[in-house]
Structures are given as C-alpha cells and as structure tokens.
C-alpha cells in the first residue's frame, strides 16, 4: 500500500479512524434532523452561492427570474452559513494537526500524469463543473443525497449511491488504469 504511505505529512496520530468519524457524522445528522431541521448537504447552498457569479452577465433581474434559483434566492441563511462552518472546521482541524499546506495536485495524479499544473488545473476545473452539474441534476451530493438520503432509506439516494460508485470505478479504471502490478 505504497500510496497510503506516500501521503504528505497530512496523516498521523491525530486522525480519527473512519469508523469514529463516520459515527460522528451520523450523530451530527441527529442534530441536523432534530434541531436544525435541515439535513447535512452542500450543493443546494453552493449553487445558490454560485448565483452571485451569474450577476455580471445575467443581471439581478435575470438571476431573480431564473426558474431554478427563484424559489431559493441567495441569503446568509442556515444552509449557506453551514458551508462557512464546514470550511472553518476543516481549516481548524488541519491547523491543529499541523497539516495545512499548499497542495497543487495529489500524489496519484502526479504519478500518472506528471507535474503539469495546467493539465491538473484544467481537469480539476472541468471535473468540478460536471460534478456540480451532476449533483444538481440528481438532486444532491455525497452529503445531501448519499449520506442524508441514504440514512432515510430513500430510493433516489440509494440509486444515486450505487450509480456514483459504478461510474467512479469505471471512470477511475479509464483514468488511472487497473493494473494490479502498479500497486507497488
């Protein structure tokens, strides 16, 4: 498992086992359902934030009239503030671990495609765009659909969960190859 060990100093004894962190997210869901009355989720709020960047070419009237954004205009409400909290929490955790660092690309990317920043940034940009488009089309992301919907045993969310894994495995095989030999 060379890849695991090749992580930059970003790991260590301050990390939690995935089971503990997962259980923590489960307990956080109880709070989200019972107190906040808003399940954990990212992309609905993020797409509302994105409407800010449509203002220069659509104008205030254009954004306000858009049938997708109309029912949920951007404001500093629960789900948007949640995203600010998410980034603060991750930042603080990394700060205390001592793992804050500028990362230009991940190790397995560099091993496969080399160190070109242009290539990595172009693909990250394009990947982010279709990730978001897909999330909006499906109605949620890994948090809002897979975890929050999965734990409610929603049909849509379990279909989402299975299809993202199928698509991810196939995409990954094309992108990074499947050779067992490159394990080392």
């Amino acid at each position: 498992m060379e890849n695991r060990n090749a992580q930059p100093a970003a790991t260590g004894r301050m990390d939690w086992t995935p089971y503990l962190a997962g259980a923590g997210i489960g307990v956080l869901s109880w709070v989200a359902f019972a107190v906040a009355h808003d399940p954990l989720g990212v992309t609905t709020a993020y797409s509302r934030f994105a409407s800010l960047f449509a203002l220069p070419f659509m104008g205030h009237a254009g954004v306000a009239a858009n049938s997708y954004w109309k029912p949920m205009p951007l404001s500093l409400d629960y789900s948007v503030v949640f995203l600010i909290g998410l980034m603060l929490g991750s930042f603080t955790s990394a700060l205390l671990k001592g793992t804050l660092h500028v990362e230009l690309m991940h190790n397995i990317w560099r091993e496969r495609f080399g160190g070109s920043l242009v290539k990595r940034f172009a693909v990250a940009f394009f990947g982010g765009a279709i990730l978001m488009y897909g999330a909006r089309l499906a109605g949620g992301c890994t948090s809002g659909h897979a975890i929050s919907g999965g734990l409610q045993l929603a049909l849509s969310s379990w279909v989402f969960l299975l299809v993202i894994f199928a698509s991810g495995i196939v995409s990954s095989a094309f992108l990074f190859g499947t050779r067992k030999g490159d394990r080392q």
């Binding site: 049938s67 279909v159 199928a166």
Partner: protein, 183 residues
C-alpha cells in the same frame, strides 16, 4: 426544538464546523484517499459513509417516530438521478473530491480543490441556465416521487438497518483483515 434568527445561524456554524472537522480527521479531504476508494486501495470513504448511514439512520428513525423530526426525501426521478449520479462519479474521479470534501480541502490549502470549486460554480450556473429544459425533458421521466425503500418493498425500516449493520460489520471485518495481512 425550533431555533430562529441568530441562534439558528450559530447552530449552522457549529454543525458545519463539526462536519468539516470530521471530514478532515477522517482524511477524506485528501484527493488520494478519495481516488483510491474507486481503485479499491483505500476503503476510508466507504467506511465513513456506511458508518454514518447506519448510526445516523437508526437515530433519525427514532427521532421521526417519536415526533422530533420528519423525513426529507429527495424525489426518485430516476432518469435525472441516474444521469446526474453518473456525471457525479466521473466528476469525482477527475476532480479528486466530492463537493463537500472539495470545499473542506480548499480550506486546508489545496489549490486544485479551489480551482475545482470555481468549476463547480460554472456547473451550477450551467444547471440553472438549462433548468427549464431539464425540468421538462428529464426530471419527469421515471418519476416515482418521494419514495422510501420500506414503502416500496414492504420490508420494515428495522429490518433494513439490521441487514445494513450486519453487512457493514462483515464488510469492515473482511477489509481490515485483508489490510492487516497486506501490511
């Protein structure tokens, strides 16, 4: 409990903070960890998700049945969910993150996570601009409404969670044993 105004926003900050903290401590803010899940070399992502689903689901089941909350089910318009999820899986491999872990990672200094987050803004705008067409041609196909698996199958919630928990523990046991044998 119903919070409003400033106390609701403080709660949002706190819940978000805890979520971001947990994602970082679980190491899923690393694109290597996320990508290696799809290559079956690191099972962190699935461990986090399955544990969250089982622990969260059992609690939420009690909360709903005791009247403290209700379900928030996303509609099963299966063509949209299917195509969206397929794009999402591809996007996750190209980007190296999902939306939540991408935002969490850019906060720890990942520059390519930031670039992808800008891409996400474009994706969201593209969706808003195409929404009328999508709404008319995709979202109404194979649309089964806000269905839950227990309603669909007649199998009670408790049975699902017992099976999920047993399945998860068995899978985790197998993965851990294999990992130990390898290292």
């Amino acid at each position: 409990m119903n919070l409003t105004g400033a106390s609701l926003l403080i709660l949002a900050l706190a819940v978000g903070f805890a979520f971001g903290w947990l994602l970082n401590r679980a190491r899923v803010t690393s694109a290597d960890v996320v990508c290696n899940q799809f290559r079956f070399r690191d099972f962190t992502v699935i461990k986090v998700m399955l544990t969250a689903i089982v622990v969260g689901g059992i609690g939420v089941l009690f909360l709903v049945h005791s009247g403290y909350s209700h379900y928030y089910i996303k509609p099963a318009n299966l063509l949209g969910v299917g195509i969206g999820a397929a794009l999402f899986g591809l996007g996750m491999v190209l980007y190296g993150y999902c939306p939540g872990t991408g935002l969490a990672a850019l906060a720890t200094g990942s520059l390519h996570a930031l670039i992808g987050a800008v891409g996400m803004i474009f994706g969201a705008i593209a969706y808003a601009l195409s929404f009328d067409w999508v709404n008319e041609h995709v979202l109404n196909v194979w649309s089964l409404g806000k269905v839950r698996l227990p309603d669909l199958t007649g199998i009670p919630d408790a049975v699902f969670f017992v099976l999920l928990a047993i399945g998860a523990v068995a899978a985790f046991y197998y993965i851990e044993r294999k990992d130990r044998a390898r290292s």
